[in-house]
Structure formats: structure tokens, C-alpha cells
Amino acid sequence: MERISLITLTLFSLLFFAACNKDDPEDPEVEEEVITTLILTLTPPSGNNPITLSFTDEDGEDGNAPVITTDTLAPNVTYSGVITLLNESVSPAENITEEINEEAEKHQFFFDTSEDLNVIFAYEDEDADGNPIGLETTVTTGDASTGKLTVLLRHEPSKDGDNVADGDITNAGGETDIEVDFPVIID
């Protein structure tokens, strides 16, 4: 009797072993929500020769260094600025800017300049609540100078925080989805 029980137990368990799904994974998981590229296009009033600042990190968190391109801005000019976000890890490249627009209330761009750099950013776009987004801006340069420009994208910030709608990140909170530094020369 004992032997029968033991055999039953073993058979019972072997059944389970056989039933396991040991198949290989079918396809690689496609990373959604990836932003590889930020392009800031500054167009002068004439509409000719727009200036492009771009940050591209194709492999994301992996080791290859990102590629940053920059350009020289003219002094005392008012540019209109436009931000484009892309996912270039897929082909054709995916335009993430649309996703930001679809959730405009949950996103805001901030522009931080180092002390020596004479540049001022002003918001030109709005979400459904009348708060700025920052995909479209007016960029006014001052006298010749050099410095650093940081472009940040915050997800779910508190747009009602003090001075946040004016572009002050101090009380914005939220999570940073993008933080890129551009060396900028105004000459």
C-alpha cells in the first residue's frame, strides 16, 4: 500500500513537470515610451537659416555616449523655438512630440540658463487648462556671451505651483523625463 502511494505521488508530480511551458520567448519586447532624440529648432524672424540644437542617445542607458550638436546664436534676436522629440531606435522614427501633446496637462518644459548666458525663454503654447507646455517658445538673445542651456521635461508637475507657469522649476515637482545640457555661444 505504501509503495502504491509513493508511486502515485511520483507520477502525480511527474505530470506537473511535463506540463510546464518551456518555450522560448517569441519576440523581443518593443520598448515603448523611449525618447532618443530632442531637437530644439530656433527660427529667426526672417524664417531663413534656422538653428538646431540636438541631443541624441540612441542606445539609451547603454554605454555609447550621446551625440550633442549645437550652433552659434546671433545676439539681440528674437527666435521662435520649437521642440521635437523622437524615438529613433525604431525605423521609421516615431514622433513622440504627439504623445506629449496628447497629455499636455501632464507635461511642461523648463529652460535653465547659466548665469553668463544672455538668453530668455517665454512660453508660446498652452494646454487645455491654460497652462504652458513649452514645445513652442519665444527665445530672445541678449549680448554676446557663452554658457550652458539646460532643457528639462517634467512629467506630472504641479503647474499651479508658485511661478511654475513663468518657467521657474523650483516648485514644479513631478518626475524628470528629459534633462539635457547644451553648450551655447551667442556671437
Binding site: 509513493l6 515610451e33 542607458e61 550621446p66 504623445e99 517634467r154
Partner: protein
């Protein structure tokens, strides 16, 4: 699973019972035989000698009670022929029920588990613990377990010296034994090794503590008996034995906790199946609902949780064989502090400088993203065959299915799509031959087998954190004990072979299926020495190997909660641990008890995360990169627990633990080593006021010192300062005929102290919990 022979046996038992009943009826028809005298003695179940005075023996059938004298003896007269039911209780013992059939004058000896040391919070190992004679082992059972009812498994173990918890907010707690946790300790749930995603620092064990009547912690390397991975210790979750009679018994637990406005309820029912004497069953279910926890100054938004669990057990037992079937289901949804979800290091810095985390709102029961959802199924079949002279063969089969999902803050309409979706299935089969005492030697030889299949469920839209894998691990072991005059010795050896195949897509989207093979050894030598009365010395030296797990081999990506990139190393070697633990115990009944453990653990090829010199730049900002590396490490320390009777009924208990951990190769302290702790409590016991019995008042204070031994660059922020917490507790019980009602009221962190704990991973973002008023009612029937 009843075989034909069993069925015949059952039928004949039934038939015999029927005849018996007829005979009884026949006798009854003539004259009720109620002239039987029961003479009994109550003794301590540990040494089987020590009589227990003032034990209260209640006869359920006659509805009368009697009290045992200084020899532990008692008499019950005029008992009728038939089955008698006695309920025996004693101060500092668990109430126990006994039933037996009598048809003439009978003398019996009843054994009660009497723990002088088990009152209040100190839990000192009993000296004659057959199972682990040389290990340092602490147990929560009876009162000590009842007082933590409603807490998670990790949180319940905090009162044991040498055991701490690694928390991620109030809803997630992982047990830490002597500084090690996760895959370096083993949790055994009703005889089955708990298998889930234990590698995760925010992954708490998926076990409902209400299934346990006893939770023990073995504080030494116990890999020979319990399997690889038990480097630093084992947490044993054990249910109560099945009741000895067939009547319906059970218990109802109700717990209310003010912090988080938590409600917990658990019901257990157990009994027999008349007229099948050999069958017993038990069902149990629990439900917990908790809202946002509160610090002294603000709400911890999104730290609520909800837990549902259910278990059923069934046992068939004869003199020759015992078969047990057990199944349990555990389901939890756990919120993660909203303000702890950060994007990059700048966010972290801002969080470190904030008093109150971002996104803090008023109290709510809502559980939003970020959150965890985990479901765990366990099925167990155990068969024990008893041989005449005392040997037995135990065969245990276990099946587990663990499904863990993590929901994150995501862009687009991806709120309900998990960012992590892992399913791991485990099958285990263990066969152990436990042989009877041969001359002075008793032990067991066994083989074990574990099969695992881990899969990432497609559709997350996020690269898997750990790869799919399949692994199998057969093993063999031997463990023997010798009982000599003043010494008891034990020695054991174990070998496991582990084969692991990972399956993942590389950067070029090609499928890679690398195979790993590991030879895992474990060894154990221990001794227990009793020279002088009341004094015991135990020493255990154990070695355990641990194969690197999937995350250590293959991690590749941003660990959001830590704002760091982690990278695995597929060439990691087996971790080898050598641990020695010395335990000195002095026990003088109620008057004075002391246990001190000194431990030293040497870890070769210890796997840890080491930061690289240069941070990595991504579109999200710069992140530190941590790689899994191996080094030589050591962890050593002392646990001391004592209890002194100051006056009659007035006790002082004290518990302290110190741990030091070093990365020897790099000459720096190990991260996440618990800081020094010392807990003191005063308790006063009133034996009874009217029907209220065992009224105990306790005031306790816990001092936790700042962890000053840290390597700065390994951590995001320096450890928090020291703190002191005060608790007040009252407990009592009412014995009603065959039922019992127990009460426990506690005020934890009574003075609402604001503090942060080094081992709470949310300490970067928020304070720990404030005052908590706890109310517990337990009804036993």
C-alpha cells in the same frame, strides 16, 4: 488519494465503531457506567518531568474544573464511559485540548508546552529542541505571535534579537537575519521553500502569517537540511498540528490598527470527518485592508494595501502512514509612495531636500500607480511512511506559481499596462529517510529536486529586468545527530547540482540562450553542551554556497527607484559562506533567563553592487552605474536577550543586537548593515481579576542608533540619526468553558516620534510611520 486498502480499513473501522456504539447502547440500556476515576498529572513537555502546579483542567463533558497540585496531579471522579474532553490551561502555557476514550479507571499524563521565557517579547530557544540542537533559534508562538497578528511576515519578526527588516514603506517588509536578506536567507512555508522573485529588495515574502501557529528563525547556516541559499538563516512558518479530536474547532482573529486605518480579519476552522477517525481538515482565510500610512506630520500618499488569502489542508493518518494535502492562495496589491517615484538624480536631490514628499495629499484607501500586484499559489502533498522501530520516509511534493506585476507612472494610455510582469513556476520533490536511533546516532538521508521556469509576460512595453530562464537542481544530503552524556553532536553534508538556462534578446534582437552550471556544497557541524544545571552552550559551524541569481547575472537597465543603472555580470561565480554561531543560554525558570549569541560569517565571492567611477549620460540626465561584482566580505556580531524577575509578577526584559559588516577586499563597510539596537521592557502580570486572566501590562522602549559605518559613495544619502520609540501594551484573556477570548491593546510609537530608519528604502523621501493604536481580539473555539 485513498487506495483500496485504505478504503477497506476505513470501512472496517466504521463497522467496528458501529458495533462499539451498539454495545455501548446495550450497556447504556442497562446502567450508565459513570463510576470511572481519572487520575492525571500535568508535566512540562520539554523534559517530561517537571510537574506543573496550578494548571486549570476543565472537563467539557462534566462541566467541572479542577486544579493541579504541587505535584501536578489532579483527579476527576464519576466520569462516564466514553470519550472525555479536557481543556488544560496554565499561566505561560498555550491552552491545550486533550481527548481520549475511557472505559475504566485511567491514569494519564498530559504534557503542556511550558515556556517560562515565552512571556512577553523575549523568545529564547527551548533547550531540548530535537530538530536543531546546535543552532540559535528563536520562535514566535502563542502570546508572542498573537501580539503581532495582522502584521506582515517580515514585520512580525522584528521582535527577535538579530532579526531586522528591510522595508520599502509601511506595506513591504523583508526579513533580515544578521544583516543578510533576499536570496541569502530561506523562507520555508509549511515545509516548502518559498520561491518567488526574492532577489528584489522591494519584494516581500508572499505568505499570510495567520496560517502559522509558530514562526521560527534559525540564525545560522542551515543549508544542509533546508537547501541551498540558507546562508545566514531560515525563517520557518509552521501551522499548528491538526486537532486530536474530530469536533469543529477554530479561531477568529480581528485586528484594527489606527495608522493607515487598517482592518484585518482571519478565520480558521478545523476538525475531523465523522466517522472517519483518520481524517482531519482545516480551512483558513484572511483579509486585510489598509489605507495611506501616517507620519507624525503628513500622510504617506499611496501606501495603502489590500491582501486576500485562503488555505486548505487535509490529513489522513494511521499508525503506518500519514498523507497531507495543502493548498494556499495569497494575493496582494501594494501601493508605493507616490513621492518616491523619481526621474533622475536631480529629482532625488530635490526629494532629499524636501520635508514632505511631493504629491502628498490627504488620507485615502485608494491604491494607484506606482503599485505592486502579486499572486502566489502553493500546493503541497506530503506522505510519511512510519516503520515499526521508529524510522520513517517522508516524501514532499510542492508546486508554486508566483505572478508579480509592477505598475508604474507611464505616458500615453499605459496606466493599466504593467511595466514588470513576471511569472515563475517551481516544482520541488524531496524524499527523506529519517532513520531511528542506531546506538546513539539518529538522522536522515535525503534527495531533493527543484525545477523552475521563469517567464516575462509579453506586452509590457519595457525591456525585461531579468531574463526568462529554466533551471533544475537535483541534490542529495545526509544529516546525523549523536546524543552522548553531556553533549549532543550533529554533522551534515549536502551537494546540489544547478543547471540554469537564460533566454533573452540581445542588443541586436537576437535570441541568446546561455547555459550555466553550478556545483553547490553545504556542510554543517554542531554541538550542544549541558554541563551545569540551567546552563547550555551550543555551537554551530556551517558552510553554504549560493549560485548567483538571474538579476546578478543579467541585470541591464535603469533601476528607477534607486536612480541608478545596474549591470549584471554573466561570469559571476558561486558565493561561498562560512558561518559560526556560539550560543550561551542560562535558564532559571521564571527568575532569570539569558541567551547570548556570537556569530561570525565569512563570505567568499560575495556579490554586491559597486559604483563605477564615471556616471553615464542619458537623455534623462546623468546616472551612476552600479555593476555586480564579487569580493571577500565578513559579517559578525552579537545578539543578547534576557529576562529578569524583579519581584513576583514584575519582570524586566532586555534585547540587544550588534552587527558589523565589512567588504574586506575594498576595505570598507558593507551597505545596509543594521545599526545597533537595544530594546527594554517592563511587564507586570496579574494572574486574574474575576474572569479576566493573565492580565499583563508592558511598557517598552526601543533605541536604534545611527549607522555610522558606511561607505559614502555606495549610497544616495547618509544614514538617518538615532531614535527612540516607546510602546505601551495590555493583554488579557477570558476562559469560557471550552472557548477562549483573548485581547491585546497596544500603542506603538506612543509619543508619535518623527524618525527615519536606515533600512527603510523610502527614507530618502519621507519619514517613517507615527503613532499606531492596535486592537486585537482572538476568539478560540
Amino acid at each position: 488519494m485513498l487506495q483500496n486498502k485504505d478504503k477497506i480499513m476505513l470501512f472496517s473501522s466504521y463497522f467496528n465503531l458501529l458495533i462499539g456504539l451498539l454495545c455501548f447502547g446495550y450497556l447504556n440500556g442497562f446502567a450508565q457506567n459513570c463510576a470511572i476515576t481519572i487520575q492525571g498529572q500535568i508535566v512540562d513537555s520539554h523534559d517530561h518531568e517537571h510537574p506543573l502546579e496550578f494548571a486549570y483542567i476543565f472537563s467539557e463533558d462534566k462541566k467541572i474544573a479542577t486544579i493541579s497540585d504541587e505535584n501536578g496531579t489532579f483527579t476527576i471522579k464519576d466520569v462516564c464511559v466514553g470519550e472525555i474532553h479536557l481543556v488544560v490551561s496554565h499561566l505561560s502555557c498555550e491552552t491545550q485540548k486533550f481527548s481520549l476514550y475511557v472505559d475504566k479507571d485511567t491514569t494519564i499524563q498530559l504534557h503542556l508546552e511550558h515556556h517560562a521565557e515565552l512571556l512577553s517579547m523575549v523568545t529564547i530557544t527551548s533547550k531540548k529542541d530535537e530538530e536543531d540542537i546546535s543552532q540559535a533559534k528563536a520562535t514566535l508562538t502563542g502570546k508572542t505571535l498573537e501580539r503581532v497578528a495582522g502584521k506582515s511576515l517580515g514585520a512580525s519578526l522584528e521582535s527577535i534579537a538579530g532579526v531586522t527588516t528591510l522595508k520599502t514603506g509601511p506595506g513591504i517588509a523583508k526579513p533580515v537575519i544578521h544583516g543578510l536578506f533576499g536570496n541569502r536567507i530561506l523562507t520555508v512555508n509549511n515545509g516548502i521553500r518559498q520561491e518567488g522573485q526574492q532577489w528584489g529588495n522591494e519584494h516581500a515574502p508572499e505568505i499570510d502569517p495567520f496560517t502559522a501557529a509558530k514562526i521560527s528563525v534559525i540564525k545560522g547556516a542551515a543549508a544542509v537540511k533546508y537547501g541551498p541559499d540558507a546562508l545566514s538563516g531560515v525563517v520557518l512558518v509552521e501551522p499548528a498540528p491538526f486537532p486530536s479530536d474530530e469536533h469543529l474547532h477554530g479561531s477568529l482573529n480581528l485586528v484594527g490598527l489606527s495608522n493607515g486605518r487598517q482592518g484585518v480579519a482571519s478565520l480558521k476552522l478545523e476538525g475531523g470527518l465523522h466517522p472517519f477517525e483518520t481524517l482531519k481538515w482545516r480551512v483558513q482565510g484572511s483579509y486585510k485592508k489598509a489605507g495611506d500610512a501616517q507620519t507624525p506630520n503628513y500622510s504617506l500618499t499611496n501606501t495603502g494595501n489590500e491582501e486576500k488569502s485562503f488555505s486548505a489542508a487535509f490529513r489522513h493518518k494511521t499508525a503506518k502512514m500519514e498523507t497531507e494535502l495543502y493548498g494556499s492562495y495569497f494575493n496582494a496589491e501594494i501601493g508605493i509612495l507616490r513621492g518616491a517615484h523619481i526621474g533622475n538624480l536631480t529629482d532625488l536631490e530635490n526629494a532629499l531636500n524636501r520635508e514632505e514628499p511631493f504629491y502628498t495629499t490627504d488620507f485615502s484607501y485608494d491604491i494607484q500607480n506606482p503599485k505592486q500586484a502579486v499572486a502566489h499559489i502553493l500546493a503541497k502533498a506530503k506522505n510519511t511512511i512510519y516503520f515499526e522501530k521508529g524510522s520513517k520516509i517522508v516524501t514532499t511534493y510542492g508546486f508554486q506559481n508566483n505572478h508579480r506585476q509592477e505598475f508604474d507612472i507611464r505616458r500615453g494610455n499605459r496606466y493599466d499596462i504593467p511595466a514588470l510582469d513576471l511569472n515563475i513556476q517551481t516544482h520541488t520533490l524531496d524524499v527523506a529517510f529519517q532513520h531511528r536511533r542506531l546506538k546513539k546516532m539518529k538522522g536522515e538521508i535525503g534527495i531533493g529536486y527543484r525545477f523552475q521556469n521563469n517567464r516575462n509576460i509579453a506586452g509590457t512595453g519595457v525591456s525585461p529586468l531579468i531574463p526568462n530562464f529554466v533551471s533544475y537542481r537535483p541534490g542529495i544530503y545526509i544529516l546525523e545527530k549523536w546524543r552522548l552524556k553531556k553533549w549532543e553532536l550533529e554533522a551534515g553534508l549536502r551537494y546540489d547540482y544547478q543547471w540554469l538556462q537564460a533566454k533573452f534578446f540581445n542588443d541586436n534582437d537576437e535570441l541568446e540562450k546561455p547555459i550555466h552550471e553550478f556545483n553547490i556544497f553545504a556542510g554543517n557541524i554542531g554541538a550542544s553542551f549541558k554541563s551545569v544545571k540551567n546552563f547550555n552552550y551550543r555551537v554551530n559551524f556551517g558552510t553554504a554556497y549560493r549560485a548567483p541569481n538571474a538579476n546578478e547575472l543579467y541585470s541591464d537597465g535603469l533601476h528607477h527607484g534607486a536612480a541608478a543603472i545596474e549591470e549584471g555580470d554573466a561570469n559571476l561565480d558561486i558565493e561561498k559562506s562560512y558561518k559560526i554561531i556560539n550560543t550561551f543560554t542560562y535558564s532559571n525558570e521564571e527568575k532569570f533567563n539569558l541567551e547570548a549569541s556570537l556569530h561570525y560569517n565569512y563570505l567568499d565571492d560575495y556579490i554586491y553592487l559597486q559604483p563605477e567611477a564615471e556616471p553615464r549620460l542619458t537623455i534623462r540626465g546623468a546616472f551612476p552605474v552600479f555593476g555586480y561584482k564579487q569580493t571577500v566580505a565578513e559579517i559578525f556580531g552579537a545578539d543578547i536577550a534576557g529576562r529578569l524577575q524583579l519581584k513576583k509578577h514584575f519582570y524586566w526584559e532586555s534585547k540587544a543586537s550588534l552587527i558589523r559588516g565589512n567588504n574586506i577586499s575594498d576595505d570598507q563597510p558593507l551597505i545596509l548593515m543594521p545599526s545597533d539596537q537595544w530594546k527594554n521592557s517592563l511587564s507586570y502580570i496579574i494572574e486574574n481579576i474575576g474572569r479576566w486572566q493573565d492580565i499583563e501590562f508592558i511598557v517598552s522602549g526601543l533605541q536604534v542608533w545611527e549607522q555610522k559605518r558606511v561607505a559614502g559613495e555606495l549610497d544616495l544619502a547618509p544614514p538617518p540619526p538615532s531614535y527612540f520609540l516607546t510602546d505601551f501594551e495590555v493583554s488579557t484573556r477570558i476562559l469560557m468553558k471550552a472557548h477562549e477570548l483573548k485581547f491585546h491593546v497596544a500603542i506603538r510609537n506612543a509619543f508619535d516620534i518623527q524618525y527615519r530608519s536606515y533600512l527603510n528604502r523610502l527614507r530618502y523621501y519621507a519619514d517613517d510611520t507615527g503613532q499606531n493604536v492596535e486592537l486585537r481580539i482572538k476568539y478560540i473555539f
